[in-house]
């Protein structure tokens, strides 16, 4: 099957096994550029595994993943990041003992091209690249209201700001696809509201497609244009939030047993 040129992300019949245990199978869905899609399902359904497969942390047992027409199978994680898929983590993975600014600058690594010798000798290429990167990183921190914390250690930020810093770090490389793993986890309702606004703004400003895993249904229903529902490693439903709300299998998966 040829990938549809209009789709940004195409996942086709994806499956993975861990030591004989099937974690995911027959997962098929696609995303258009600039779309916000929610990936939902009960705990242990395999949502984060989908992220780990897209970003190349795991290699699929079968199936294919393409991004902008390029296949991602067999590619290294850092290459996948370079070809335009950036992510955040469920359990926040910042570079804790580095400054907020450096956290963002690290992800801009590939947009600079001076070599180690130029860096060590502080030749003009170093100053040019670093000034440019620092400028862009500060602008990104500004969007996420982190400017005043630029020089602080990432670990010293409160939880909500750490989550925002992770998104800022992912966005500095101008990705085509942003993967957010439970961005609202541990946030209070006010913070979640602010996060929803930020996510919409990010999509509008950067034109990036966003795939997000989230348990907070108000957030999911509020900002996602389409939803993909996973249960026991399989896609049990796809559609608009309104359609998903009506879907019997989804309700059953969430409530368990014989409800409905």
């Amino acid at each position: 099957m040829n990938p549809n040129p209009h789709h940004l992300l195409e996942i086709n019949d994806l499956g993975i096994q861990f030591g004989g245990l099937t974690a995911l199978e027959h997962v098929t869905f696609s995303m258009d550029p600039g779309e916000i899609v929610g990936l939902i399902g009960p705990n242990g359904a395999g949502k984060t595994t989908v992220f780990n497969l897209i970003t190349g942390i795991y290699q699929p047992t079968i199936g294919s993943i393409t991004l902008g027409g390029q296949t991602l199978n067999g590619r290294k994680t850092y290459k996948i990041f370079q070809s335009g898929a950036a992510r955040t983590f469920q359990n926040i993975r910042l570079f804790k003992k580095m400054t907020v600014l450096d956290n963002v600058r690290i992800a801009a690594h590939n947009q600079m091209d001076y070599n180690p010798l130029v860096g060590a000798l502080r030749l003009p290429g170093y100053w040019r690249d670093e000034a440019d990167t620092t400028y862009r990183a500060m602008k990104m921190l500004d969007i996420f209201s982190l400017t005043e914390h630029a020089g602080e250690m990432a670990s010293s930020l409160p939880y909500g700001q750490q989550r925002r810093l992770e998104i800022a770090r992912a966005l500095i490389s101008n990705p085509k696809l942003l993967l957010l793993d439970e961005p609202a986890a541990g946030m209070n309702p006010t913070e979640t509201q602010a996060l929803m606004a930020t996510i919409r703004e990010v999509r509008d400003r950067f034109g990036v497609a966003i795939l997000l895993i989230e348990h907070d249904m108000r957030l999911v229903m509020g900002i996602c244009e389409r939803l993909v529902v996973l249960d026991y490693g399989q896609v049990i439903a796809k559609g608009t939030p309104a359609e998903i709300r009506q879907n019997e299998r989804v309700v059953k998966a969430y409530l368990g047993g014989s409800a409905v």
């Binding site: 290294k76 993975r93 580095m98 690290i106 690594h109 170093y126």
Partner: protein, 329 residues
């Protein structure tokens, strides 16, 4: 370069020049005896060893137990250049060849070894280090266990001092470039680093190779200071000695490594009056240091004149803040 950066550079440059003058003038005037000169050269060589090992242990966060082997490779390569190749500028050339030989060894060892991590990496570097030593012991061209002799004794205090300044400056600037940040990010979180576009394997090998390169240069200095080389000088015990310097200084801190290298070179000599007890005191100091200050002297922080200035300002400000807090309550 903004004004604050420039000022801090100028300040540090002036301080460095003053320090150099205070340090080198007495030696040039011949007021210092050979024993002290020997001690100073040893301390300077140890500074390069400690700061270069810091690239792997501090920046990359990996434990390596074979650093002395790279010094050995560099020492022998540099010595062979000096002995067999009598050309002008042969000494800088010899040091460079020593560094490159060690760097190549670093790549050969690093590529397979860096697939492992944590304790396993420590163990495999130990194994490789010992193998390098045993191979050097069995190579006829190196004189083997009977030692290599007749190396010109060119390393003086000013020469060693200049080489140290160059090496440490390069390591410092490298550490604060996109490459240094990439290496640091691996120490902080390898998964996050690779997910942020950092080719982690490349940077692990780069850090390891650069560390080997500078250790090779230190080896070249050592060879031209001693005039005689024996492979067993570069054994596991030496690697441990350098590791201890890095840890005591605070992993990740270049200035910490420098201070620790100086202190640990001088300390056993200062304790010479207590000659029977000195190694005992040294080992006790090590244990107590770990028990009461496990992050080392400086942690990951750097010592600089600008930071002292900041410290003063901060204490003054916090004193003011305290005053305000009291008046408010």
């Amino acid at each position: 370069m903004n004004a604050a950066t420039r000022n801090s550079w100028i300040l540090n440059a002036i301080a460095l020049a003053a320090l150099s003058a205070a340090f080198l003038l007495p030696i040039q005037s011949g007021a210092v005896n050979a024993y002290i000169v020997g001690l100073l050269i040893t301390a300077l060589i140890n500074i390069i060893m400690a700061t270069s090992l810091n690239l792997v242990c501090g920046l990359l966060g990996y434990l390596a137990l074979g650093h002395a082997a790279f010094m050995g490779v560099g020492a022998y390569a540099a010595a062979l250049v000096s002995i067999h190749w009598n050309v002008p500028l042969s000494f800088p050339l010899a040091l460079l060849v020593g560094g490159i030989a060690a760097a190549i060894t670093g790549v050969i060892i690093g590529v397979p070894a860096l697939r492992l991590r944590g304790d396993y990496l420590a163990i495999i570097t130990l194994g490789f280090g010992e193998i390098v030593r045993i191979i050097m012991n069995n190579m006829p061209i190196l004189g083997g266990a009977r030692s290599l002799r007749g190396i010109p004794r060119i390393t003086t205090v000013p020469v060693a001092y200049a080489v140290v300044i160059i090496c440490v400056t390069l390591m410092f600037t490298l550490g604060r470039s996109r490459h240094g940040r990439a290496i640091l990010s691996i120490r902080e979180d390898e998964v996050a680093a690779t997910s942020s576009g950092i080719p982690v394997t490349y940077y692990k090998i780069l850090a390891f190779t650069l560390a080997a390169f500078f250790a090779g240069i230190a080896g070249g200095l050592y060879a031209h200071y001693m005039g005689v080389l024996n492979p067993n000088r570069f054994n596991f015990d030496r690697s441990i000695e350098y590791l201890v310097m890095v840890v005591l200084g605070g992993m990740g801190s270049i200035t910490g490594a420098i201070i620790a290298a100086i202190v640990l070179t001088l300390l056993p000599e200062l304790l010479r009056g207590l000659s029977n007890y000195r190694m005992l005191i040294y080992s006790l100091a090590l244990i107590l240091m770990m028990l009461f200050r496990p992050d080392g002297l400086l942690g990951t922080a750097e010592f600089s004149l600008a930071s002292i200035g900041r410290l003063f300002r901060r204490t003054r400000r916090s004193a003011q803040n305290e005053g305000r807090d009291h008046s408010e309550s």
